[in-house]
């Protein structure tokens, strides 16, 4: 593929191998100034490897990198920074206990008589940057106090702080809510106007369509296609990514509404929740939607007994849960799929099988002794059923891809005989193929009579999977919709607290 004449960044025949895998196989990619270039592909396609090479975290085995037409060597992060390449990583790279200003200028502090840090200048400059990207926080706020989306904006501010020529964004919207996404898109368009080239790595095809000028597809470390967005469609992109065309529609086989299984009554917590009440029936999927900071995760944790509850009650099949006891919750048949896979979900240095069986150890043990054979057979069932890609049950789970890790977590809860499961962002940061499978599973579980709560910030997913939608804003329930009555606009109105919807009004 001929490099574009005005390419800022031109990657030629880059290859990178790790023991056992060829992560990148002679891929090309060229990025023009002032364009948004989408890089898509399933997990393991080699996107992250390329990013890491460009960021100087990895070093390429073969190939050349041209910057403004001249070949460059990127062997350390600082090399790439000097060139003006800035990567906004998926797991955000900010220091929690430092202020926004410090984080923005960490690489190059403004100095007084080039010795000591000039705090005034630092905080003034930061303020300007925050204004340009329209982020309404003070530069002296400690980062750990910010929401994920705000942190992301800080990252972009950092990119702007030292005139980046190229900004690489790795799944920037995976943690954002729709209107935050809009905001991000506007910022990106601003960057475009400044002539900055943006490499936009994502799973979400609708974003490619909405935002990007060109799109390049990787699969299994190889370059599959690279074209103008205007000349392509989601369907062929999907085909390019997975090498086969897959069913993206949400399957709906479950119908029957059983009796109320989960009953949450005016639940309040010290920090966030205010009088949250709702019910979930057997075989029903309730989708809970809310913007960042609306209190979805807080609700999940409070229901499950991870966080302290101030007042209110949670009962399963009429039996009230003792507060703050996760062990009792699980015994009563309540499961919680956390949004933070690595941080709160998996025990990374444990094997696939051990992770799957963790909550169900009693079921596969007698007199406290774990039955090894049963453990393997039971977990093997799930590995097959979910087609989890792993060399063996003994593989440490840390070596699995994001999608497969998520399936392991799901398998963990399905092995345990549950009555209710809370899924918090079940498809965050996993690829199209895996996504569809997980949606299929949700449906399957519902049809088995399980009561399901799905917390999501992805509108299509919400509308796709839920029989019943609850919208939260600032810890309160501001909207309730049946599947039929649900409309994107109404949901958003409720989510930003502009208008409230109750069944009564419909």
């Amino acid at each position: 593929m001929a490099p574009a004449k005005d390419a800022v960044l031109d990657v030629r025949k880059i290859s990178k191998a790790f023991p056992g895998v060829k992560a990148l196989d002679a891929v090309d990619l060229s990025l023009r100034g002032g364009e948004v270039h989408a890089l898509i592909g399933e997990n393991g396609a080699g996107k992250s490897t390329l990013i890491k090479i460009l960021a100087g975290v990895y070093f390429k085995d073969e190939g050349d990198i041209l910057f403004n037409g001249s070949p460059v060597e990127i062997s350390t992060p600082s090399d790439s920074l000097k060139l003006g390449i800035k990567v906004v990583f998926q797991e955000l790279s900010l220091i929690p206990h430092m202020t926004v200003g410090e984080n923005v200028f960490l690489e190059s502090f403004p100095l007084k008589n080039n010795r000591t840090i000039d705090w005034d200048v630092l905080y003034e400059k930061t303020q300007d940057l925050l204004d340009t990207i329209g982020l309404d926080i003070t530069p002296k706020t400690k980062v750990y106090k910010l929401t994920v989306s705000q942190q992301q904006m800080v990252e972009i501010a950092r990119a702007l702080s030292h005139e980046a020529k190229v900004i690489i964004m790795d799944e920037p919207t995976s943690a954002l809510t729709p209107n935050e996404v809009d905001h991000l898109f506007n910022v990106i368009r601003k960057l475009k106007e400044r002539g900055i080239g943006i490499l936009y790595v994502t799973h979400k095809l609708e974003e490619v369509m909405a935002l990007c000028d060109r799109v390049t597809v990787f699969r299994d470390g190889k370059l599959i296609s690279s074209r103008e967005v205007s000349e392509t469609s989601t369907d062929n992109l999907v085909t390019d990514m997975v090498g086969r065309s897959i069913q993206t529609l949400f399957p709906r086989s479950h119908a029957g509404k059983g009796d109320v299984v989960l009953d949450v009554r005016s639940l309040s917590t010290e920090k966030k929740l205010r009088e949250v009440s709702f019910q979930v029936r057997g075989g029903e999927v309730v989708g809970i939607f809310g913007l960042m900071g609306a209190g979805r995760t807080e609700l999940a944790k409070a229901m499950f007994g991870l966080d302290a509850v101030q007042s209110g009650s949670i009962s399963i099949e009429g039996q009230e849960l003792r507060q703050g006891s996760t062990s009792q919750s699980t015994r009563m048949g309540l499961g919680y799929l956390t949004e933070d896979r690595k941080g709160e979900g998996l025990v990374l240095q444990m094997s696939v099988a051990q992770n799957i069986t963790l909550p169900s150890l009693e079921d596969i043990s007698s007199a406290g002794f774990i039955k090894r054979k049963e453990e393997t057979t039971r977990s093997q069932e799930f590995v097959d059923a979910f087609s989890i890609k792993t060399p063996s049950l003994r593989q440490k789970v840390m070596y699995l891809s994001g999608g497969n890790q998520q399936k392991v977590l799901l398998a963990r809860w399905l092995m345990k005989k549950l009555k209710v499961i809370i899924l918090d962002e079940p498809t965050r940061g996993i690829d199209v193929g895996a996504k569809a499978e997980i949606h299929r599973l949700i449906d399957e579980l519902a049809s088995k009579g399980l009561a399901i709560v799905v917390m999501t910030s992805e509108m299509p997913e919400l509308l796709g999977v839920s029989d019943h939608i609850i919208v939260m804003c600032d810890g309160r329930i501001t909207g309730e919709f049946s599947r039929e009555s649900a409309e994107m606009e109404k949901i958003l109105e409720a989510a930003i607290g502009q208008k409230e919807y109750r069944y009564a009004e419909q």
Binding site: K52, T326, T330, G345, V347, M350
Partner: protein, 328 residues
Amino acid sequence: MFSSESSKGGLLTKLVLFNEIILVAVLVVISAAISIGTSQFYSTSNILNILRDSSMAIIAGIGMTMLLITGEVDLSIGSLVAFVGVVTMDIINKTNSVFLGVLAGLGLGAVTGLVNGLVRTKFKVNSLIGTIAMMMILRGSVYLYKLEAVQNYHQLETFYSVGNGYLGFMPIPVIIMVVLYVVFLVILYRTVPGRRLYATGGNEIAAKISGIKVDNLKILTFVANSVFAAISGIILVSRMNSGQPNAGVGFELMVISGVILGGTSLGGGEGTLVGTLVGLLILRVINNGIIILRWNQDLQIVISGLIIILAVYIDNKRKVARSKIITT
């Protein structure tokens, strides 16, 4: 650089991937070296003496291993050993019953463990600091309890044999150690609580979410650890035939060193009892060897220090080699 070599996956690398094998090799080499220097090393009496003497450290090591696996540590066991010894001897003197004395000793251990556990889980005090403090508290308390070494007034044979007696040709402490060791080997690798220890150390929140009562588990482990230390203390007091308030100085560091030498990570979630056994034996054999070779005793700490660094270095090499297999 080494990682790229070792990740090529030769047979040697494969061996490097199993820490215990290296340790066993180290143990063999050292033993061989010593036995070249002196013939007494392989005498049954010396082997038994090494075993009997290390049994105290190994028993404490079982508890410490489990504690480190949950991601915690306890520096107070040295002082506890002294306190338990004094109390046990004193109670036996007063009641003339070995049973009551041992009971008191174990009780004291359990209480100490409970306090350590509560300070960690309820006060959220980092266990390193919390148990340094407990180390001071216990050392102070033992002297407040008895300023003088407690002599053996009761002269009970059963008490004496706990530390010095034999069953057949096997020293009784060794038998106690072996029994405990086997039992906890099984518990750690074959049972639900064992699995939960690893899960808790590996990822506390994940463990919580999986319905594990993390705090209770940790408290329990602290108690177990202290009780094991108490058992070592009882064996020691029987061997010394007097309750010494100044006993067990540096015991905690020696035990922890051995456990870490055995490949248990300070981060929690990883560690094996096999490694602990070998690790502690290595340290004991070094000390024993240096004396029977009539070398300068000060070499004991120097060599132990170097061996630990070396072992951890190899262990890292192994970990890096493993981690290089992670793909994108």
